[in-house]
């Protein structure tokens, strides 16, 4: 399903899925250097369930963006599936992002003008799937997250919990290795939050690497490992 001409999406099976070494990220803010991440060293193996915790402003969202290849480190190295992401150009990074990483955001981030099926199709579109293939796959995924009845609905016609299910289905569209969830239950009531968590944990049990950024201690309890980040540094893991 994934069309890759450059070979960047090929992951080495034996290596850890994610390795960060002395990774730093800083922003220039009116001639003052603001260090958001300092000397991050993190290794995550395939199939792990990692919770990233920390107070707001500690840099956990930046770390998540870094893992998801949305942001680039100021210094240090980042290997994703044995590939040094720092050396790839924007096109290749985009390809990896689409093929290997599934994002689940706190605010769902569905495209309002598209219906459920079309939203799920978006990542497949950028990997060059055929229309029929992607529509079929999107339907399967929607049914899997329990939205088989609402394929033609717009996001605005769905509840928060349902929207987040669409987002999860969309994250799974290209069968990624890593699912990155940024406060996935943050905008949901406890009941639908619990359901969403159940789906995510279920995915982890099926072998997906799951990385969740959260404030919620309950979520962290289920995780195999907790990475606590404070003031741009990893405090304990």
């Amino acid at each position: 399903m994934i069309r890759d001409n450059s070979g960047v999406v090929e992951f080495k099976a034996d290596a850890p899925i994610l390795v960060m070494e002395r990774l730093c990220k800083s922003y220039e803010l009116s001639s003052m250097e603001l260090k958001v991440l300092r000397d991050i060293a993190l290794t995550i193996n395939e199939g792990e369930y990692v919770a990233i915790m920390g107070p707001s402003g500690s840099g956990k969202s930046t770390l998540l963006n870094m893992i998801g290849c949305l942001d680039r480190p100021t210094s240090g190295d980042y290997w994703l599936g044995g590939q040094n992401v720092s050396l790839l150009d924007d096109n290749q990074v985009s390809l990896i992002r689409g093929a290997r990483i599934g994002f689940v955001f706190q605010s769902f981030n569905l495209i309002g003008q598209l219906n459920v099926i079309e939203n799920i199709e978006v990542p497949m579109y950028y990997q060059g799937c055929s229309e029929r293939e992607s529509a079929e796959h999107a339907r399967e995924l929607a049914t899997m997250v329990g939205l088989g009845e609402r394929l033609e609905h717009r996001p605005s016609e769905l509840s928060g919990g349902q929207q987040q299910r669409v987002a999860i289905a969309r994250a799974l569209a290209n069968d990624p290795l890593i699912i990155l969830a940024d406060e996935p239950t943050g905008n949901l009531d406890s009941e639908s939050g619990a359901e969403i968590l159940k789906i995510l944990v279920g995915l982890h049990k099926k072998g997906k690497t799951l990385i969740v950024v959260t404030h919620d201690e309950h979520i962290a309890e289920d995780a195999g490992r907790i990475v606590e980040i404070f003031d741009g540094r990893i405090r304990c893991q």
Binding site: D90, N109, Y126
Partner: protein
């Protein structure tokens, strides 16, 4: 693969435009009007030029027309006394042309008199043309029935006439004019033939000439009646009364209103014109003639047409430019409105190139749609102009292609910047954008 992507991108574009129907329509309007004005203006310009050139061509590109005009310095004198004004071309002039300029093949002297023609109880204003049997050589008229003037008519100063189809329609209505008698002034003339109308239109009319007199004497004439030159000279004489409000009446003596000469080839027209002018200059002390060269008029008309086209084209181009800027403006607004969508798409694996393609295709679709609708509207305008304004218009295939091509180019040019702006947005900031 590429084509397949293009198809999906186009589909995506159509969908997103369809979601903002009103906005898309309003945006497209600029292009619609731009394109239709290009087409309409080119069609009207082309039609006007074709009509003018046809009219001039009917005058004959190998002809030189010398017309009698009232000399300007004579006008003041005529205000003071009632003496006879004598001016204009003479039979001698015609003779001189024939004898002294070798290039000239045909010399056609003619008199043109505004008159009224009677048949039974009907009366119409006509132009009586007293001329020679070889008049058809310098005129586009064609024989429809009977015969044209002959040398026997000339020799015996026969009371015969040839009417054109316009006169036939107005004067005879349902009757067959052949062999009927038409009364002009005091005399009767038997109709010997019918010819097609000369229909020289505006190009043949020169200021201070018979046409204006005809209008003064009872409206525009409906057509021409051809009578042998000798008959006209005999029956109408050469003296006419001029009534003017201030000075009462004056007498005028004019032998010929017009001499038309025809040369062998188009290259000879201008040299012959110079010779004619030299010749005329020697024998005419007063400036009482005017030389018209249809070929030159044709060249001038083409020149005018070129300027006309440039002016019209610039106006149309400006309206397209305005349409393009309108599109760019809307696309920039769309891009900033959809910042979050762009961020989401980038996070889901869209490359910069995909984003560029997405927005560029939307702009392109808008402008091409505008182009197609503009071609429709732009083709309709000339048809209406022809129908209601009675002006000839010509829609050429080139102008359609040009307009369509321009609208596409406008789409690309004005779509690129918004598309690049969309593609170069930082995905993280776009995702945070509300």
């Amino acid at each position: 693969m590429f084509l397949f992507r293009l198809k999906r991108t186009a589909k995506l574009g159509i969908k997103s435009l369809w979601m903002h129907k009103l906005r898309s329509t309003l945006t497209t309007l600029g292009i619609i009007f731009g394109v239709s004005s290009v087409i309409a203006m080119l069609a009207i310009g082309e039609g006007a030029s074709q009509a003018a050139q046809e009219q001039i061509a009917r005058l004959g590109s190998r002809n030189i027309i010398i017309k009698t005009i009232p000399p300007p310095e004579d006008k003041e004198v005529s205000g003071q006394n009632q003496s006879m004004r004598e001016y204009g071309l003479t039979y001698l002039d015609a003779e001189r042309f024939r004898n002294s300029i070798r290039n000239i093949e045909v010399v056609v002297p003619s008199r043109r008199l505004p008159q009224q023609a009677w048949y039974r109880n009907r009366k119409v204003a006509v132009e009586v043309i007293g001329t020679v049997p070889w008049y058809p050589e310098i005129s586009p008229i064609q024989l429809r029935a009977g015969r044209f003037l002959g040398s026997i008519d000339m020799h015996h100063r026969q009371g015969v006439c040839i009417v054109d189809e316009n006169v036939m329609k107005e004067l005879f209505v349902f009757d067959d004019p052949m062999g009927q008698d038409v009364k002009i002034a005091q005399d009767y003339y038997r109709v010997a033939g019918v010819v097609s109308p000369e229909d020289l239109g505006a190009a043949a009319q020169t200021p201070g000439n018979d046409t204006e007199k005809a209008k003064a004497q009872g409206g525009a004439n409906v057509g021409c009646i051809y009578i042998p030159l000798t008959t006209v000279r005999n029956r109408f004489g050469e003296i006419s009364m001029q009534y003017s409000g201030v000075s009462g009446r004056t007498m005028e003596r004019v032998e010929l209103q017009e001499i038309t000469v025809k040369v062998g080839a188009m290259e000879e027209v201008l040299p012959t014109r110079d010779m004619l002018e030299t010749l005329l200059d020697r024998f005419h002390k007063k400036n009482d003639y005017q030389v018209i060269v249809p070929l030159e008029l044709l060249k001038q008309a083409r020149q005018t047409q070129r300027i006309f086209s440039i002016v019209l084209g610039s106006i149309a181009a400006i309206s397209l430019l305005v349409g393009g800027i309108g599109i760019m403006n809307i696309m920039l607004a769309t891009v900033s409105e959809r910042t979050r969508e762009i961020g989401i798409r980038r996070a889901l694996g869209a490359r910069r190139r995909d984003i560029v393609l997405q927005f560029l295709s939307e702009t392109l679709l808008l402008t091409l749609l505008g182009g197609i609708l503009g071609i429709g509207l732009g083709s309709l305008v000339p048809i209406m102009v022809t129908h209601f304004g009675r002006m000839p218009t010509i829609i050429t295939g080139t102008s359609l292609l040009l307009a369509f091509g321009i609208s596409g180019a406008v789409g690309v040019i004005f779509g690129l910047y918004p598309a690049y702006r969309a593609a170069n947005m930082d995905p993280i900031e776009s995702l945070r954008h509300e």
